[in-house]
Symmetry: C2
Subunit: 233 residues, 2 copies
């Protein structure tokens, strides 16, 4: 086994946990990166730490960043998270849970850390199918970020690394992602996906993220191991 390393953007959710398992299965040592970015709760950061521990990340870094000051999102501001939306409604427009330029900021930090570590491969769990209408989850965006990365760093212009933004989930349905993860032995009990959990951290079951997750488990024919505040409709 050679010592391949990868930086993994981890939110402690279903998608990023699956990409971490995929990277491990490909023989990478894992350097996982999470952000305290002014989100309304820290359950996802706890989940990201748990996932890093369970899957055996070599290092897990949590960066404090100031997206709340910039504002413009239900995930950082006092704007209500939308509930009980249909798949059609989710696709209609970019939702208020969109955080301005979030993936660009996250990937930029990943690029910086990757350069310091001497890493070429950055994994991000974006998904263009069962997604929630975010512009920075689309393949054309990822391609443009990768091109920019290869002009941005000392490591790139000195020919030491060629950055690859790896998006193994980008064309998969949520059900396919779940089956893939279960095939790799992922216990999804340790993950957290909800935008608006209860005070004890239970998933609401009604935000876009919960709805997509539940639909995924249903379609995969697997029971979602986490607890929800509300029963499934």
């Amino acid at each position: 086994m050679n010592n391949k390393k990868a930086v993994i953007l981890s939110s402690g959710g279903l998608d990023s946990t699956t990409i971490m398992a995929i990277a491990l299965s490909e023989g990478y040592d894992i350097y996982s990166l999470s952000f305290r970015y002014g989100q309304r709760h820290f359950f996802e950061l706890e989940a990201a730490q748990r996932v890093a521990n369970v899957l055996g990340a070599k290092e897990h870094l949590i960066l404090n960043i100031d997206l709340k000051i910039i504002g413009g999102s239900a995930l950082t501001d006092d704007i209500d998270v939308p509930k009980d939306r249909s798949a059609a409604e989710m696709q209609q427009e970019v939702p208020v849970t969109y955080v301005p330029a979030r993936n660009t900021i996250f990937l930029s930090y990943a690029l910086a850390w990757a350069e310091v570590l001497g890493v070429s491969d950055i994994f991000i769990g974006v998904n263009a199918l069962d997604y929630s209408g975010y512009p920075d989850c689309r393949p054309e965006y990822i391609d443009a970020f990768e091109k920019m990365s290869n002009l941005a760093t000392k490591a790139a212009i000195e020919g030491k690394t060629k950055t690859r933004i790896r998006t193994p989930l980008i064309h998969m349905t949520k059900a396919e992602i779940i089956r893939k993860g279960i095939g790799l032995g992922v216990d999804y009990r340790m993950t957290h996906s909800c935008y608006d959990p209860s005070l004890e951290g239970k998933a609401c079951g009604q935000c876009d993220s919960c709805i997509l997750r539940r639909k995924g488990f249903r379609e995969a024919g697997v029971t979602d191991p986490i607890e929800y505040v509300s029963r499934e409709a």
Copy 2:
């Protein structure tokens, strides 16, 4: 006068102060953005605030970001800042003052704030001539970042804004920049360029940034109004 707005990346240095004056002369309202990123001193943040006040920025935002944790630079780590290097030495390789992916991270935040403000134009004072060998100051990098930006945001995909990364200094010599600024009435006394100032904030006169600045003033035939610890050689 229409109400054009621009986000300006400001370090309180000579270049970013000049671009702010240029943006003002083009009729933009200024939203300036600086970063507390783990640099070894805060004189540049004080200078950036001073410049924003003097030039009349509508808003000046200082974001706390965690580049020190990522490391890899003399500007954030305990690595000596190189002194008394010749122009040829500066061009030979990317120096230890390079901060991994810094402009990418800075521009990503600028993009986020621009989206929230409804702004298309982001000004950055990069320079490809009298520069210090940084990859993320080159025109091809800036072009790639702009392309990526126009795929990254809700504002872009909804056709509300078309992001332009404006680099008015990119092909100018330091002397030309200084003449341009003086023509626009900039008082460079309020700026701070030094990587390694004295405890009272006096410029060292020997780091790459001081050397390039002094050379620029000399070639422009203008006296640099700031104080230096060391006399000019």
